[in-house]
């Protein structure tokens, strides 16, 4: 391979790398033992803004790219709005803010270990330990 092509490829990789989650698809996952098999965005959103306690939401760290994208695409809110919603629930003793994890691997592990958990990860990170119930367009 010539140096020019290699540099071009590297540049391309860096370019896409700078905005990785525009390319990566997000999927909503539950525990394989969970009865649910499919879900609409609106239904999945309920758990992540505390409107339903049927399933326990598992979150990515605040400010992470995947969380920001999930907030925008699924919840239709920005991070400050989501934070404000949770602070209402937390400080009225009505709810507990979701546990936060640093990576999709950790979110997947948490969902695999809790029958009632619901989370989201990049599609590429999916394996048999979890069940996909929604692919975020």
């Amino acid at each position: 391979m010539t140096t020019t092509i290699r540099v071009t490829l590297l540049a391309a990789a860096l370019w896409f790398g700078a905005a990785p989650f525009c390319a990566a698809e997000i999927v909503v996952i539950v525990n394989p033992k969970n009865q649910a098999s499919r879900m609409f965005s609106e239904q999945a959103a309920q758990f992540f803004i505390g409107k339903s306690t049927l399933f326990t939401p598992v979150e990515h760290n605040e400010g992470s790219a995947i969380r920001n994208e999930f907030n925008t695409k699924v919840l239709g809110k920005d991070s400050a709005q989501v934070k404000s919603i949770w602070s209402k629930l937390v400080f009225t003793g009505k709810g507990t803010a979701p546990k936060e994890y640093a990576s999709s691997a950790e979110v997947k592990k948490a969902v695999a270990g809790d029958v009632s958990a619901i989370g989201y990860i990049e599609k590429s990170a999916v394996d048999d330990s979890v069940k996909v119930i929604l692919t975020v367009p």
């Binding site: 605040e62 602070s87 209402k88 937390v90 009225t92 003793g93």
Partner: protein
């Protein structure tokens, strides 16, 4: 005990409780907190602006005491059904110093996905935002509109409640009913006792729209209010026992009924409440109060406007008392205690979410008292307003 010492102890206790339980191999502990650091001032020294039930307010020179507070909350989750929550709150209220209160301390039992039972000290859901009115970060405005939020004092009760939450399609219904007793300190050495109080709070949420109905009933007494007690004693001495009977506040029935809405649609924010207070005492007047707030979110910046008003439904003077002669002074005294504080407010403000856990707010209220000094305290004779109230604050959560 010294009050600041008590605040320190309360927080030391909460933190120790948290640390202890975290060390043990049992319940999951979470410690979270909220607060507001604010400066408030007005354009007059003829009267003081307060939040409801505060002993001291603010004039031209800025003070932190009106709008600042700090809360700490510890939750211990024992398993999927049982948890315990305690919240301590520090603010200036019925006394002019930062006093600590145990805002809530309750045990929660989640029976199933629909029903939750709680016992202990909990927020009284008198208003739409009762439960989170002290958490500035969770609100658009810098403080709850006082026209409505000064109608019933007190934030918590000791008792039990049940919460039912269920989704019907994409509509979520939450109904909460609580019963218990409450005691609220008021400025001076007096307090209001609600014994018992019942509160119903119903929320219907569908997408961007929330509609809320509330109804609180109580048998209440005003205890140790020397000015009122003196007036009643004089009325009985001069042979006006019926007047004293109409004014006394001992085991009086009262109700507070309210309807509210919150809309968060695209960039538009609306929050409004309409409330009716009725009691059997002329001293705690029948009132109708309301406010409406409109906001428009532009990214991290949300400018907003609100209007609030209150009117009195019971007569503002006590009919049939002599207005001349030796009892004229007493009549004036009676009439002064049957007049509700009337005022309206136009306010503009802006919230800026400058940090992931903090927001800066600036708000200017234009308050117009009506037939008296409104909700202002320590008004100089002849004070009629209107008054501009300026406030800037930072709300944070952690």
């Amino acid at each position: 005990m010294n009050q600041s010492l008590r605040s320190c102890l309360l927080f030391a206790l909460l933190s120790a409780f948290g640390a202890m339980c975290q060390a043990a191999d049992g319940p999951t502990m979470t410690i979270s907190g909220f607060g507001t650091a604010a400066l408030t001032s007005t354009d007059t020294d003829d009267a003081e602006y307060i939040r409801p039930n505060q002993a001291r307010g603010v004039g031209k020179s800025p003070r932190t005491g009106v709008d600042s507070n700090f809360g700490l909350q510890v939750t211990a989750k024992f398993n999927n059904s049982f948890s315990a929550t305690a919240q301590g709150l520090v603010r200036k209220n019925a006394n002019d110093y930062y006093g600590a209160e145990m805002a809530w301390a309750f045990l929660k039992y989640k029976m199933n996905d629909d029903f939750t039972f709680r016992a202990g000290r909990m927020g009284t859901p008198v208003y739409m935002i009762s439960d989170f009115r002290n958490v500035g970060y969770a609100n658009t405005m810098i403080r709850p509109p006082s026209e409505v939020y000064r109608q019933v004092n007190g934030g918590f009760f000791d008792g039990v409640d049940v919460v039912y939450q269920h989704s019907f399609g994409d509509t979520t219904l939450t109904a909460q009913f609580g019963v218990g007793n409450a005691k609220t300190k008021t400025p001076g050495n007096s307090y209001v006792e609600f014994k018992p109080v019942t509160a119903l709070h119903v929320l219907v949420e569908n997408g961007p729209v929330t509609v809320r109905f509330g109804r609180a009933d109580a048998k209440f007494s005003v205890v140790n209010n020397t000015a009122l007690n003196g007036l009643l004693a004089t009325l009985r001495t001069v042979g006006l026992p019926q007047v004293a009977e109409d004014l006394k506040v001992v085991d009086v029935d009262g109700s507070f009924t309210s309807l509210g809405t919150m809309i968060d649609y695209k960039n538009f924010l609306v929050q409004a409440e309409y409330a009716v207070r009725k009691t059997e005492s002329r001293v705690v007047m029948d009132t109708t109060s309301y406010y409406a707030m409109f906001g428009y979110r532009m990214g991290k910046v949300t400018p907003y406007y609100y209007y609030g008003n209150i009117k009195q439904d019971s007569p503002r003077t006590y009919a049939g008392l002599p207005t001349t002669g030796p009892l004229a002074g007493l009549t004036a005294g009676v009439n002064s205690v049957v007049k509700a504080a009337l005022q309206s407010t136009n306010a503009i403000g802006v919230r800026w979410d400058f940090h992931k856990s903090a927001a800066l707010k600036v708000q200017i209220d234009h308050v117009k008292p009506k037939d008296g000094a409104g909700a202002f305290i320590n008004a100089k004779p002849g004070f009629t307003g209107p008054v501009n109230v300026y406030a800037v604050g930072i709300d944070f959560v952690f």
